[in-house]
Each structure stands twice: as structure tokens, then as C-alpha cells.
Amino acid sequence: MWRHGDVLIAATEAIPPGAKRSQHGVLAYGEITGHSHRVEEPEKAEVWEYRGERFLKLIATTRIIHEEHRPITLGPGIYRVWRQREYSPEAIRPLWD
């Protein structure tokens, strides 16, 4: 498992059936900053979405990059990507940077 700022990444076995292919290499956008957690070399990656979660298929080693966080190098494989959460008395919500 890896933590890239407020985004978590863990190896998983498969992309769920019914997932939809995303047309870019972005894993998560910041709500205000416009920054993004993204694949450095999108040609080596497929990003899939399924029920609000993102899945990443890497066909070769590449890095996950962001304007502020140090890169993380990931090898070929399938990964689940999700955001941290924050508590509030009203609702538990994803944490946005």
C-alpha cells in the first residue's frame, strides 16, 4: 500500500467487471488547487472507474506524480486508488486537497 498525499494506492487482483475506462491518466484532482495525482507516462497506464473508485492498470513501470508530493514508482500490475476520508458529525466525506 502506498500513500501519495491524500490518495491511497493498493495492489489488487482485477479490475471489476463493469468498470469504465477513463480517457486520461488522472487519478484524483484537487478541489481548489487544480493540482492532480496522475500517471507520469499515461501511455503506460489505463485508468478505470467503478462505483466511484478508480483502478489503475500499469503495463510498465511508471511514476505517480503531483505538483507537491514526491513521486511514487509503481511496477506493472493492477491497483485500486482511493481518497482519504475525514469525519464530520453530519457525514463521513472524502478528503479534498
Binding site: 484537487g30 505538483e67 508530493h69 514526491r70 513521486p71 511514487i72 475525514e86 464530520s88 478528503l95
Partner: protein, 336 residues
């Protein structure tokens, strides 16, 4: 003499063998990054996109080099040839030995991020986007340059004392961390946003009144920037967005926040960002506020993230934030 033209794959072999002829034209793009043996390229090389990142022995570019984009990040280049022709984008990030860019240099996007030996920018440069962030030895701009730019990023130019008077209009302007920049020029217009975090700026010239402000990338207003004493702890607690809350906290003063909310430390330990603390703040007519105070391992910034009031240990809270109700399931290998 006919100009030789080669496909990228053949050209690559030839270039790495050191046998490439002058005025070689390459069909397609060339990625020669991390080639430790690459010391020289032929004169007059003409290629679409050329990547030379982290070639540790490449100390100079050839005369007459033509390309659409050139990336030579982290190379030991000390200067650029006067006749270098790059149309779209030149990225020289972390060229720590670079000291000279030719007069009148023209390219759409020029990236000089982290060129720490660079003291002077070129006179009469023609650029639309200039990223000079981390150029800690640039003290002043040249005497002439473009009147308009799409983006100027001077983040962390700690010796810079003034922006150029020739620049009249810029889309996005980042001067955050310019610790010696005490004023911005009258007559400068910023179209989209101005980031002025961690500068000694205390007011804006008339031409910048009403501009959208940012604090390290986060949208803020003039009150947060210029009158932080008016921020209240209640405002911080009520702010939903974690980045804006971070800015409010930073401007309010972390110690003031903790003192005014009478936070109690429930637990402390360390993670990749340093010490972290689980803080407990009783709230009137409400369940208590329990926050994990952490530092980002990359930026060192402090964050307060609210967790369920039942949390008692830092790791338990960090695991909950990561989505794990059982703290034993949360074991990150790398945190950045």
C-alpha cells in the same frame, strides 16, 4: 550535400555510437534520457521532440540544434548555444550548472525550475510561459522582455526583489515564497490568479485590486492574506475544505488555534512526516472535536484532519482516515 534523414530507431543507434553525421534529420521523436555514455550530439540535428533528461555526461548542446520541444532536465549543461531553436517547450529543470541563456531566446514555454546557478535571465527573451521557480540566485529581471505572458512562476525565488516593469499583463502569477519581494509594480494586471503566499507583500497596487488571490495554490481572499488577525478559531473549525482550513489555520496561527480551543493531546507518535498528535477539543453543545495533526512528508505542511470522537491513538486515527476501521490493516510501504 543531401541532408541525411533517418527514422528515430536508426538515429538513436547512430547517435549513441557517436557516429551520427552533422545535419541529421530525424523522423519522429527521440528519447535518449538516462544515457550515461551520451557526451555529444551532431551539429545541426533536427528532430521533433528530443528528450535528454538525466544524461550525466552531456555538458553542451550542439550548434544549430532544431526541435519542437526539448527536455534536458538534470543534465550538466552550463549554457545554451546562441542558435538553439526550440519552438514549443524547453525544459531545463534542475540543470544545476546552467548559468547562461542566450539573448533574445524565443520559445513558447521555458522551464528553468531549480536552475540554482542561474543569476541572469536573458535580455529580450520571447516567452509566453516562464517557470523560474526555485531559481534562488536570480535577483532581478532583465531590462526588456515581453509585455504579456500566459504564466510566470517565480515561486521560491528568494533573492528576487522586484518584478519587471515591462510586464504589463500576465494570466497566472506565482510569487509565493519570494521572501524579498516587498511590492508589485503599479500597472501590472493579472488575469486569472496571483499566488502571494509567504511573501512580505502587505498591499496590492491599484491595478491589482480585485484580483483572485491564492495562497500556495488555494483560493483565498484579501482578508485572509492581509488581515489574518481577523480570522477566528470558529471559522477554522467550520471550514469544510481541508486545504482552505490549512490556510486559515496557518494564517490564524497554529499555536493560537490550539490555545484558543484548549486542545488536549490524547496521544502522540511519529510517521513519515515526523511527529503526529491526536488532539481533542471540547465543543459547546456538540460532540468533541478530535483531530489528527500530521505533517505532509513531501511539503512538511501541518494538517489537521478530523476523525471520529472515539479515536484514542494516532495510528488508529491515521488508519481510519485511510479507510480502515481496523488499524492493523493499515501498513503503508511508502508515504510521500
Amino acid at each position: 550535400m543531401e541532408t541525411p534523414t533517418l527514422e528515430a530507431i536508426e538515429a538513436r543507434k547512430l547517435l549513441l555510437s557517436g557516429q551520427a553525421p552533422a545535419h541529421l534529420r530525424v523522423n519522429g521523436d527521440l528519447d535518449l534520457s538516462h544515457e550515461v555514455s551520451l557526451t555529444v550530439l551532431p551539429e545541426g540535428l533536427n528532430v521533433g521532440r528530443l528528450v535528454l533528461d538525466h544524461c550525466p555526461a552531456l555538458k553542451a548542446l550542439p550548434a544549430g540544434l532544431h526541435c519542437i520541444s526539448l527536455s534536458a532536465c538534470g543534465t550538466p549543461l552550463t549554457e545554451l548555444p546562441d542558435d538553439l531553436h526550440v519552438t514549443s517547450r524547453l525544459d531545463l529543470s534542475d540543470c544545476k550548472l546552467l548559468t547562461h541563456v542566450p539573448k533574445g531566446f524565443a520559445v513558447d514555454t521555458l522551464i528553468l525550475r531549480g536552475c540554482t546557478a542561474l543569476e541572469e535571465l536573458p535580455e529580450q527573451m520571447h516567452v509566453f510561459v516562464l517557470d523560474m521557480s526555485g531559481c534562488i540566485n536570480v535577483q532581478r529581471f532583465p531590462t526588456s522582455g515581453p509585455e504579456q505572458m500566459a504564466r510566470l512562476n517565480a515561486q521560491g525565488c528568494t533573492r528576487l526583489t522586484a518584478l519587471p516593469s515591462w510586464l504589463k499583463r500576465v494570466g497566472q502569477l506565482d510569487v509565493s515564497g519570494c521572501a524579498r519581494l516587498h511590492e508589485l509594480p503599479e500597472g501590472l494586471h493579472v488575469v486569472t490568479w496571483l499566488d502571494l503566499a509567504h511573501t512580505p507583500l502587505r498591499q496590492l497596487p491599484a491595478s491589482l485590486q480585485g484580483v483572485s488571490l491564492r495562497w500556495r495554490g488555494v483560493a483565498v481572499n484579501e482578508r485572509i492574506v492581509f488581515h489574518p488577525e481577523t480570522i477566528t478559531t470558529q471559522q477554522v473549525l467550520e471550514e469544510r475544505n481541508v486545504e482552505r482550513r490549512r490556510v486559515l489555520l496557518e494564517r490564524l496561527g497554529y499555536e493560537r488555534f490550539l490555545a484558543e480551543t484548549q486542545a488536549r493531546v490524547l496521544h502522540r507518535d511519529r510517521d513519515a512526516g515526523g511527529e503526529r498528535r491526536l488532539l481533542y477539543v471540547p465543543l459547546q453543545n456538540d460532540e468533541p472535536l478530535v483531530c489528527l495533526e500530521v505533517r505532509c512528508p513531501s511539503t512538511g505542511r501541518r494538517y489537521l484532519i478530523r476523525v471520529p470522537p472515539t479515536m484514542r491513538q494516532c495510528h488508529q486515527a491515521a488508519a481510519w482516515i485511510a479507510g480502515f476501521d481496523n488499524p492493523e490493516h493499515y501498513r503503508p510501504l511508502v508515504e510521500t
